[in-house]
């Protein structure tokens, strides 16, 4: 019983994921899952450490490209491809985070954005990223050399497991002794410092963890769709993940997941009907979000729930 209560959120996600492919296109659900994981990784920084990284597509994209490259050029198995993407994203996070972490607030956000833009131009120019076209036709390969992920149903199970694993890990990090320190930094950085916590080092570790998980999300996306393109490292993608997190509820476990569902489904539904007006609609949602439901969908619901 205590097990059920403690893992209630995770177990309900398992149930939802088991039913979802019968109600929606599995490929759409997989896309949602990749972005939901991305948003959860971002939320680890914004919601639980108080750091606004404005260029998080860099790590998503780094995972997407490097996994795509490993699968195509070296024909590795998918688990190794993913690992390569995650490690690259983590290393990139260590370098970029190391450069940005000493700055506060808006300066931190600007530096992360500038560094992400540098990566974007690198991906545009570099010989192995496919330039404007990106990497196309990335094979899914056989998991551990045994299980063929080419089948969409098998792939669906795989993506679900990756997502659940990432979601569980983030939840674990938040509650861990380390997560407590992150929370104290978010709440009152000077006080945490005065207690003897090396605030910058904790922030950096959080940044690397978040980058690695964002990389995992990007890498999984490449495997699912078979391509990695400039969109994955584009600033617009960085903006989307901010939006998903805010709409769903920053600093809530489930918020980024709900936010990803809302934004991806909207984009999917509207793309054919209104074309590039999608951007305007997303902008409008952002404005309404900031003006009317600051805490996001999940945040507002919990606040209401606690009041009654």
């Amino acid at each position: 019983m205590t097990f059920v209560r403690k893992h209630a959120v995770l177990l309900s996600l398992v149930v939802v994921l088991a039913i979802a492919p019968f109600l929606f296109y599995p490929v759409l659900v997989m896309k949602v899952l990749c972005f939901a994981l991305f948003a959860c990784a971002f939320n680890l920084l914004l919601g639980y450490t108080g750091l606004l990284s404005f260029g998080h597509a860099a790590y998503f994209g780094a995972g997407a490209y490097t996994t795509g490259y490993a699968m195509t050029a070296w024909a590795t198995t998918p688990e190794l491809g993913l690992l390569f993407g995650v490690v690259t994203a983590a290393l990139l996070g260590a370098v970029f985070g190391g450069l940005a972490i000493r700055r506060q607030g808006i300066y931190f956000a600007m530096i992360t954005l500038a560094l992400a833009q540098m990566l974007y131009f690198f991906c545009l120019q570099a010989p192995f990223t496919g330039g404007e076209d990106g990497l196309q036709g990335v094979p899914r390969g056989k998991l551990f050399g045994l299980i063929d992920l080419g089948n969409d149903d098998v792939m669906y199970v795989f993506v679900s497991l990756v997502f659940l694993g990432g979601f569980w890990l983030i939840d674990r990090i938040i509650r861990s002794p380390f997560g407590q320190v992150l929370k104290s930094i978010r709440e009152n950085e000077d006080r945490a410092l005065s207690l003897g916590y090396d605030v910058d080092r904790y922030k950096l570790v959080a940044f690397v963890l978040s980058s690695a998980l964002a990389g995992l999300a990007g890498a999984t996306k490449t495997l699912t769709f078979g391509f990695a393109t400039l969109t994955d490292v584009f600033w617009g993608t960085s903006g989307e993940v901010v939006l998903m997190t805010l709409v769903g509820g920053v600093g809530t476990v489930l918020g980024p997941v709900i936010g990803a569902v809302v934004i991806i489904v909207l984009q999917n539904e509207l793309a054919d009907k209104v074309g590039s007006w999608v951007l305007v609609i997303l902008g409008a949602i952002f404005v309404v979000n900031v003006l009317l439901f600051r805490k996001g969908i999940v945040g507002e619901i919990t606040a209401r729930f606690n009041r009654t």
Binding site: Q180, E187, S194, L195, G196, L209
Partner: protein
Amino acid sequence: MSPDYILETRGLTREFSGFVAVKDVELKVRGGSIHGLIGPNGAGKTTMFNMLTKFLLPSSGSIIYRGSDITGERPARVARRGLVRSFQISSTFPHMTVLENVRIALQRKMGGSFQFWRSERALDHLHDSAIRILASVELADYANLNAVELPYGRKRALELATTLALEPELLLLDEPTQGVAHEDVGRVVALIKKFAQGRTVLMVEHNLSVVEDLCDKITVLQRGQVLAEGSYQEVSNNPQVLEAYVGVADE
């Protein structure tokens, strides 16, 4: 330096774009004593604290703690050496519970705080000590409330409890009774007295009866410089000190 001084500053100076907030201060704090740092508003007391705990770098001068020069050290390192401060404006972790506020201090002493893979149960064994510390400031009943929900005086008590949880060797208190209801001041004084057994305290305090009651030695700052030093008796009879305080009162 004489070995019974735990903290010593030499020619400590801090300027803010031309304005000298602290000038050539030679402060000597004896181990095991309660040392008061007093002076009118803007005298540079908090600036001194900020330099001692490395929140501000001195423009010139040096800081010696237990015989080692800590002038260039980082704030977290100085805190881990046992030199811990509280803040003038009450400083808690607002959206963490009262218990978690104290526990985060206990956790730092225990170590292992980078362990992001461990379950929250790794912290359970700190629960009893946290409650005991909270009880000493009469906050045990509020353990599960968020710190933000406490009235101001209780927040100050929580901040003190959090600082004491680290069992610092040298405790720097910036106006611990400020904002504490009149009838609760005695309790704060008793707590500091109890804690100071076998430790050293350097405190900024405006309430002179508290200073008289607690402090073995007092340094008076005025406009960034040491005006007088000595016991409460000596300092309170010093005509310059009287003038400095009356001068302020006149404004």
